[in-house]
Point group: C2
């Protein structure tokens, strides 16, 4: 998917919502467990219900891998079910040396043809480059994450910059705004302004609203650009809004609520 | 597997060799492609041939995931085939927030019952903790890697220490020498002495000899302790030593060569 296509979808749906399919099999409604593939059935209904309000879906690979072969199959089917006009993200946070990275790129851009993958930057440039060779595919690098552990290494001061700022400065030269995005946690809106000075035009993928408590208004004020360039992810607060047979309708209502907030926050840009 | 058991195996086999099963389906001998599961058949014969010389096997998940469902199945079968006395490592380099990390821990310690997993430290403490809750399981954190990209962020100076040194200092307090190891690249033996000052007793997993060119003698002199505390990995140089029907025998010869070098390097300790 091209940047222009993503921006167009955002403008059509008046939404920069990414729905996180953290579809923990132990948390999906009881009545779905009689299905052959409960996780896929759950995802299918969540996608159908939230599609008017979301431009992207993020599949958190951990929740699928932990189910082994069956989980891998649910992931395959979910990806195949996603319509072409949404940005499909493998939230896989991979990162390894070039030879191995090429195999991860094959996994998530070919075997499972996602549009985008999240990557861990720790091991540096040659671990990212194999992903950047694919046209119309996106590498989404971890920069400043939403969890407490971000303080351990990401926030360390190194010369004039913190480690996450070095990640932004160095890595933004490896690709372009057409094939790279960055993960910036919603729980740290006070940092987004500074991040925008370093990477004024890259898309940011911001997880952490909803269950993790990030503030949509604050982060959007700091992160939105003339081209929007923002995707905000909500997972548990949408997909597990209701644990009954009514779950999909409840998810739609939650997604719509976020979409309407986003529409208001974008009104001067649209 | 307990630390004492691993050290015992090293002493029995007079070897601290880990064989890396980077079993790229496009590189395995032609005659195996007629098998139902060529990758598993290859691994089986490699394991049988190298078992006298190796105390650990490292499954590089990328090479399995890139084959999709079939690859996941080859990984499962390979793990099941490994005998109990070797340390089985999932070289997966995962790293995500606590809720997700718990699912990765389930994946690689329960669904696939490996003894150990490699982890990326970028996102900090809460991304590692879920793995440390498992008894007799190992978290192997990336510290200083063997690839050129290590210069980008791992080697950045931050206050008195480089980033990888901060990883060692901080994270070594999260667990113990009974459940944590560190990845240190063989291409950087000059750093191992300094690393041993920071973590004198932890096992190091050292990839990068063979195809990547690291020097076994140099790194062993710097890394060996009274308890050995060293695993050195070779992948391609052993498993792809010969591309013909003779591959397993050639792999055994390569593994034996490394084992004999190791035996000589350990002779004052054993």
């Amino acid at each position: 998917m091209k940047r222009a296509e993503l921006i167009e979808q955002i403008k059509i749906k008046k939404s920069y919502l990414c729905v996180g399919l953290d579809s923990d099999i132990s948390k999906i409604p009881m009545h779905l467990h009689k299905e052959k593939d409960p996780v896929f059935e759950f995802n299918k209904q969540i996608i159908d219900a939230t599609l008017p309000y979301a431009v992207s879906y993020k599949v958190n690979t951990a929740f699928y891998e932990s189910n082994g072969l069956a989980g891998w199959e649910s992931m395959q089917k979910t990806l195949a079910y996603l319509p072409k006009e949404v940005l499909s993200i493998a939230d896989a946070k991979r990162g390894d040396i070039g030879n191995t990275a090429a195999h991860y790129a094959k996994t998530f851009f070919e075997t499972l043809p996602f549009d985008a993958i999240t990557l861990a930057p720790y091991m540096g440039k040659d671990t990212i480059e194999p992903f950047l060779k694919y046209e119309n595919k996106w590498s989404i690098l971890l920069a400043l994450t939403s969890n407490p552990g971000a303080e351990n290494f990401e926030m360390l001061a190194t010369g004039g910059h913190k480690v996450y700022e070095e990640v932004l400065i160095q890595s933004s030269a490896w690709g372009s705004i057409e094939n790279m995005m960055y993960v910036v946690g919603a729980t740290r809106p006070e940092y987004i302004q500074g991040i925008r000075k370093l990477i004024p035009n890259h898309f940011l993928l911001v997880p952490g609203i909803g269950a993790q408590g990030g503030d949509l208004k604050e982060l959007s004020k700091a992160g939105l650009t003339a081209d929007i360039s923002l995707l905000v992810n909500a997972s548990r607060s949408i997909i597990f809004a209701d644990g009954s047979e009514n779950f999909a309708h409840a998810a739609a209502l939650e997604a719509k609520k976020v979409q309407m907030e986003m529409e208001a926050l974008m009104k001067d840009i649209l």
